[in-house]
Structure formats: structure tokens, C-alpha cells
Amino acid sequence: MEHLQININDFDDELSPFDGIDHTLTWKDEPLLKVRRLNKKYGSGCMLCESEHGMSEKVNRCPNCATVWAMRNVSFDLYPGEILGIVGESGSGKSTLVKSLYFDEVVDQGEAYLQAYEKQDTNIFELSNQQKRFVRNHLMGMVYQNPLLGLRMNVSSSGNIAEKLLAADHRHVGFMRARASELLNQVEIPISRMDEAPKRFSGGMQQRVQISKALANRPPLLLLDEVTTGLDLSVQAKVLDLIRRLQRQLGVAMLVVSHDLGVIRMLADRTMVMRNGRVIEQGMTDQILEDPQHAYTQLLVHSLL
């Protein structure tokens, strides 16, 4: 279609490379994301489980009132440009954690501060809906395990990316198409297929479109929720390579949720082990894998094939 000829050179200024990693050797230690004492419960809660040490670490269901605690006092810091892995078995609360950070789930208590947001000192869970939408569109990207959640299957791939750009008040079709082709190129989707709907793509391609959509507004933070689960091995490898390459190129900080220690080993600088809604161990990835301290982590590491 002639009217849609893309000329990327027209938008050189706006499409210049991402800010990238801060290469300075000086020491900076300002976390990008500070999460403090996040709680999420299903149920009313009672005197027993609301109290600090009322519940055993071994369960997430209160023996007294049957309230299930999906997250219990989860605290951590995420630094700019780093990859933090979150491992744990199903039901350990790792997906709940990223989904609440993306405002898909409502937390019961807890605070999170985003350094990239203009209101650094405001708990992001207390923002208005409009402000939350701003944070979601500009400062975060989310990649779900299921592409159905992250993509509009009937809208073209470039349209999926345009949706994010439109939400960020871009109103120039030429610019949006140039940006979409740049992003799709980055995730190795042929430009000739940019106007095809993702429902016609394979699972791995859908996941890659989802990643490019999440990166549309160049957020400093990317949340990845079991991105490679359900893909076959060679596709999994391709997606993982892509994530790693993008991280090196763009310097975006990532929160990688996976039950697969292999994925975590390959991607994460630091790792957090979750169980029953709690963070039971945090450390550098190689230290977690070679010298796990907590009994559960040892079990997990030794289950590795």
C-alpha cells in the first residue's frame, strides 16, 4: 500500500536509540522500584493471621479463618538496568506480585515507589486511576504468559503497538508506523507482516509481538510473567535470547518471573525465591544456585535436572 510507505528517516530524532545502560563506573545506588511489605489476601483475615508471626511460613492458608495469603510482606528493591528473577512453585505468589505491580490485581496493603515517576515519594498503589494508567503506559511494560491477555488478537501487530503509543498521546500515523516497524524489527518479526493480526502468528511470534508492545513507550521497567512457559524448547531459546539481547541494548530493568531455574540462571543478575506468598531468600543468582541457604531453596535447586 503506497499510502503507508514507511520512511524511518523522517523520524530520526524521535527514533534515536534508547537511553541505554548507564556505563559509568561510579557507584550509584538508587533503586528504580522500591516495594515494601506487600500483602494480598483472599478472605477476611483474623487476629491470628494478621499478626506479625501469627502464621507459619510453611502454609499460606490461615488455620483459624481459612484466609489465603497470596502475598505476605513482600519487600524488595529493583535497580535500574538489572534483571531480578523471581522463582517459586505454582501458587507461591510470584505472578500475583507482578500483576499487582502492573495494577492488574489490587493489593490489600503495601507500598511501592517508582523512581522514574515524577511523584517519586507517592505510593503507586494510592495513585488515581488516570495516574495508574499513565504509569502503566509510560513507565512499565508487561509481558504475560498468555498472549491473549497482552495482545488484541484481531487488531494488526502494528496496531497493537500503536495502541500503547496512542495511549501516550501520539497522534501521527507515520511516526507510529515507523516506531512499530522499528520495534518489530528488534524482535525479528518481518516488516511485511506488521499489519497482520497476531491471531495468525505462532506462539513464539505472539510472545515477541507482546514484548515489542511492552517496549513501545520505552519504559524503564519491564515485567515478564512466565514468558517462555508453554513454548517448545527451540522457540523458548529464541525468546530468551531476544530478552537478553534487548536488555543489553536498551538497559531496561526487568522483573522476570519463572518457575524454571534455567531461565533464571540465564537471565537474572539477582534472584528472589518465593514460597507461600513470602520471599524466603534473596541473593545473587549464582550464589542462590550454588550455595542456597533456605531448606526450600536447596530442595528447589536439587530438583534441577
Partner: protein, 235 residues
Amino acid sequence: MIQIDGLSKWFDLHIANQMHVKPLRTISFDVEPGKFMGLAGPSGIGKSTILKCIYRTYLPSEGSIWYDSAVWGKIDLATANERQILHLRRNEISYISQFLRVIPRVTAVDIVAERLTARGVTRADAIEQVKLMLQRLALPEKIWDAFPATFSGGEQQRLNIARALISQPRLLLLDEPTASLDYRTKTVVLDLLHEAKKNGTTMIGVFHDLEWLKQIADDTVTLDPSVHAAPLQQV
């Protein structure tokens, strides 16, 4: 440069039957800046454990490791936080292990160049430096763009050495770096290590081969089984 004071390491294994493994008992030694400290002793005595404790792959159980960092001055590696350790790993401390553990599906050149690009060197410059280094280590040029998973043991080892030396670290930890190399390459590695020493790199190394150790080490700590190792304990 580095002062190790009463360092011990034990593992509490909670799975299977509770086990208490203590591979290393109270060891202390100092290393002066720009010197090479060799570690000697029979296998299983905990030489690698010391190196891993310094690199913090192992969390030291007892004692302290005082390191003279460029950023903060004296810092105890045994208690420093993860962020500090990651910063030191990226900028000051390199580690050569017996095995190459790298990210799959990245070419040999990129694996080594990554160390430089992570510190702000442009890709083109980095690759040029890497090629010089690989040439010196006599890694065949035709495999530079291949994936290291397909390499022979010796090739992987050379890549490992290139990766550690390219960034000119302040502290270099060597865990049997020449184990699977032929005589000629061993000499090259030794040259490179001498060169690094001349540039001011402090080194702590484990060599299987005492002849080679003598050629480079300024000093040696010999670990004694009766003092530094403890038998397996069943709790």
C-alpha cells in the same frame, strides 16, 4: 589489598538427612597489592571454596574478607550487599573457573566483548581488543564466531581466560586456569598473567601443577588437612 581473617565455610544441607558439611576451617592470610598468592594443598581441602567465598558465589559462614576496593576503600566482602558485589564483579574482580559457564547461543567473540561493552567500550573497539587477545591465546580464528558450547575443553578454557583478563581487573581469582591446556598455551597464559601482574593486578590462584605455580607465585599458602579441613559431620 586483601586480608582474609578467620574465614570458614560450612554447608547446612536440609534436604535428605540433615547434614553439616564443613569444607573450610578458619583460614587467614593477606595478599599485598600486585602480588600473586598461590594456594596449595591436597584436593578437597577447600582451595576453590576460598576463591568462591571471595567471589561470593559462596556465602562465607564465618570470618571476614577485607578487600581494598576502588570505589569504597576497605570493604568486607563477606558482608557486603549483593549490589556492591555485582558492582565489584563488573568492574574490579574477575574469576577464572575450571569450567566455562556462559550464556548459551552467544558467539565466542561476543562473550569476551561483553565484559568490555558492559563498561562502556564501544562494540567495535571491544571486538578489536578481543580479537587480539584470542589471537594471542591461539584460539583458531574459524571458531571465533561459533558458540562455545561446541568447543573442546582447552578452547573453552582459553575463552575463559580471555574473558577474565580482557577487562584488566584489580583482583583476579584463578581456579586451575591451565588444567586442560597444552604446553604451548600454558606458556602463553603464564605470559599473560605476568603481564597482568606488571599492570598491577593482584592475583590469588590455585594451580594443580606446582612447577607452574612456582614460576608466578610470590607467596604460597599451604592448606593443611589436619588444621583446615574437618570431616563430614552427621547431625
